[in-house]
């Protein structure tokens, strides 16, 4: 359990989390990935999904997008839409699903946005509270 690294989750409004953890699973843009201690430096983007953190206590966050940087055992997650899973309610989730569905039904959507919205709906509907 000694192999811990620093994590910081920052949104434009505040510093959400700053802790030492053992592992984190991220919804990377090209697939899910887990980072452990001494991972090589990496920069990646996030798609909508759940960030799972394992440390002294396990935490889960829902993100819509974000930028991740990992170097020298320092993980920084920058995202404007981070929500702790425990702060979500069923009503909120169904509202968010509805919103993205209406956006998805718009005509002039490019593939990237389409992918983002559909993964968002997918992920949200899988959340069990």
């Amino acid at each position: 359990m000694d192999e811990v690294f620093d994590i910081q989750i920052i949104s434009p409004e505040k510093n959400l989390l700053s802790d030492k953890i053992n592992s984190v699973t991220l919804p990377g843009f090209e697939g899910e990935m887990t980072l452990l201690f001494n991972h090589i430096p990496i920069i990646t983007f996030l798609r909508p999904g759940i960030i799972k953190i394992q440390g002294k206590k396990d935490l889960k966050y829902f993100v819509e997008e974000g930028t991740v940087e990992f170097s020298n055992n320092n993980l920084t997650i920058l995202s404007s839409t981070v929500l702790e899973l425990t702060s979500l309610t069923k009503e909120k989730i169904s509202k968010m699903i509805e919103e993205s569905q209406s956006k998805l039904s718009q005509e002039n959507l490019d593939d990237k946005l389409r992918y983002i919205f559909s993964t968002k709906i997918d992920c949200l509907s899988k959340i069990n509270l």
């Binding site: 910081q8 920052i10 949104s11 434009p12 409004e13 505040k14 510093n15 990377g28 843009f29 090209e30 990935m33 090589i40 430096p41 990496i42 920069i43 990646t44 983007f45 930028t67 940087e69 170097s71 920084t76 920058l78 404007s80």
Partner: protein, 291 residues
């Protein structure tokens, strides 16, 4: 010597001005708390974003092929300056300080016979700049009818800048804003956003290169415009906190000055009233004596 009536009117008018400045101070103080909180909480985000970009620029594999937004056009001919000021006045030296710093920079650029382009954000800066630098101003933006500035507003400016850059309208972009230090002090800042790479940076050889997912150019393509918007948004937040802080201090001073003035005027008023009474008494007494 003004008449008693005049003095009374003046005292009344100064008192009502004092009421207004006091109210403005209260409003500014209430707004400041919120703006300050937002500015301070927003700082880590933009700072981290900047650090990532700086790290990236060090780790980049092929500098000659790197995006222009990061390394610049390789030229230094025309500069785009974004001057961010407030839409309202009555906030002490807030607007003037930004404009002063910007003007210094403008003069330097013009002296080196480089091309200058200005975008003003906020009406007060425009008012101060349009006389001397009116012909350089290419765009005027203000958010007068908006109560709160959101990230989308910053993004719209950011996109505008990126578009201009892609059309090769300028080589360097600098934003001017006030950084909020505390209520009393705001520091005018000039921050270069394009190219994102700092020139004076020493290249560190031992720096480990990053693994990218998706590809390096895709990441940069996305991240660099985002960084510009983030830096502008930071400017917004810092500016709004500074504006309120500066207004609060200015209004506090104004209230105090009005108080001093009222005091002086009241003494004056009392003196002249007393003088009038004494005069009347003398007249009565000398009148009685002559009888």
């Amino acid at each position: 010597m003004p008449s008693l009536d005049d003095l009374r009117k003046r005292i009344a008018s100064v008192k009502s001005t004092q009421k207004i400045t006091k109210a403005m101070k209260m409003v500014a103080a209430a707004k400041l708390r919120k703006a300050q909180e937002m500015a301070e909480k927003g700082r880590p985000y933009s700072e981290k974003m900047n650090i990532i970009i700086q790290n990236l620029s060090k780790a980049i594999s092929d500098p000659s092929n790197a995006p222009r937004l990061l390394v610049g056009t390789g030229e230094d001919k025309s500069h785009l300056c974004i001057v961010m000021t407030a839409d309202r006045g009555l906030c002490g030296g807030f607007n003037t300080n930004i404009v002063k710093q910007a003007k210094n920079y403008f003069n330097k650029i013009l002296k080196d016979s480089k091309t200058l382009k200005i975008i003003t954000v906020g009406t007060k800066g425009l008012d101060q700049l349009k006389r001397d630098y009116g012909k350089y101003i290419i765009k005027k933006i203000n958010f007068k009818d908006k109560k709160k500035l959101s990230f989308e507003d910053a993004e719209s400016i950011g996109n505008e800048i990126v578009k201009l850059f892609k059309n090769k309208e300028f080589d360097k972009c600098i934003i001017f804003f006030n950084k909020f230090k505390n209520v009393m002090t705001q520091v005018p800042q000039a921050q270069q956003v394009i190219p994102a790479k700092k020139e004076d940076q020493k290249e560190k050889e031992e720096y480990s290169s990053y693994e990218f997912e998706p590809e390096e150019d895709e990441i940069l393509e996305d991240l660099l415009p985002k960084n510009i918007s983030t830096q502008i948004y930071k400017g917004f937040l810092e500016n709004s906190a500074s504006e309120q802080g500066s207004r609060m201090t200015a209004m506090d001073n104004a209230t105090r000055n009005a108080g001093d003035l009222v005091e002086k005027l009241t003494i004056n008023y009392n003196r002249s009233r007393q003088a009038a009474i004494t005069k009347e008494l003398i007249e009565i007494i000398s009148g009685a004596e002559s009888l």
